[in-house]
């Protein structure tokens, strides 16, 4: 997303903006946790993040295709400050819950960022340069040898097929 003249990473799902030069620390955004935090005299206000029984934490997946799907999640929803989508590798630490195909953690910082290629090459280059504040490598995904580049290509191809596939009626 664009904040004034700066480019910042924002969660696809929440209004969380990834800070530069400091780690992102997870909080619990579940409605019930937020309600309980307003009635601290009734129960523990906030639980540690992440915990086994909750779904909170900063998520990462070991499946590049699942990560690539997030380049298009909610893409039909108007988000005025969102200028482009990025995918990347992330460092996770602190408390970590490991699942079958990924992790959720209490602390995270980007390790490497990738931007899908676009016909508007210059615009993507401007965004790439703007993300340099994170101090990690930012690449435009031209190299098809990378697993994430192949995953983005597959996801794009599948989306195109679904869009142009004839609708079936029974």
């Amino acid at each position: 997303m664009q904040q004034r003249r700066r480019f910042r990473l924002r969660s696809v799902v929440f209004d969380t903006i990834w800070p530069t030069e400091t780690e992102l620390t997870a909080g619990c955004n579940r409605l019930w946790t937020r309600v309980r935090s307003r009635f601290a005299w009734r129960s523990d206000p906030v639980h540690d993040v992440p915990v086994w029984r909750c779904s909170c934490g900063i998520y990462a997946t070991s499946d590049p295709e699942l990560a690539a799907e997030y380049l298009y999640l909610y893409s039909e929803v108007h988000q005025p400050h969102v200028v482009y989508r990025a995918v990347g590798l992330v460092s996770l630490w602190g408390s970590v819950v490991e699942g079958d195909s990924g992790w959720r953690a209490s602390h995270a910082y980007p390790k490497r960022l990738f931007l899908p290629p676009s016909r508007r090459r210059h615009d993507v280059e401007v965004i790439r340069d703007g993300l340099a504040d994170y101090g990690v490598p930012v690449d435009i995904l031209d190299d098809t040898e990378l697993p994430i580049a192949r995953a983005v290509q597959r996801v794009r191809r599948d989306r195109r097929r679904r869009r142009y596939a004839p609708s079936q009626s029974g």
Binding site: E21, T22, E23, W52, Y59, T61, L66, Y70, S91, L92, W93, G94, S95, V96, V97, E98, G99, D100, S101, G102, W103, R104, A105, Y109, K111, Y134, G135, V136
Partner: protein, 43 residues
């Protein structure tokens, strides 16, 4: 994001800081002790 059923929980302490922080520049010591402004008689 679907990461499947939780399998285990642990704590990770990174060996190196994963955040490329810009180290703040050391504060420069003033070369001369700060002097109080001299009083100048008004005219």
């Amino acid at each position: 994001m679907e990461i499947g059923e939780p399998q285990r929980t642990y704590t990770v302490e990174p060996i190196e800081d994963p955040v490329p922080r810009e180290t703040p520049p050391p504060e420069e010591e003033p070369s001369e002790p700060r002097r109080e402004p001299e009083e100048v008689p008004g005219r």
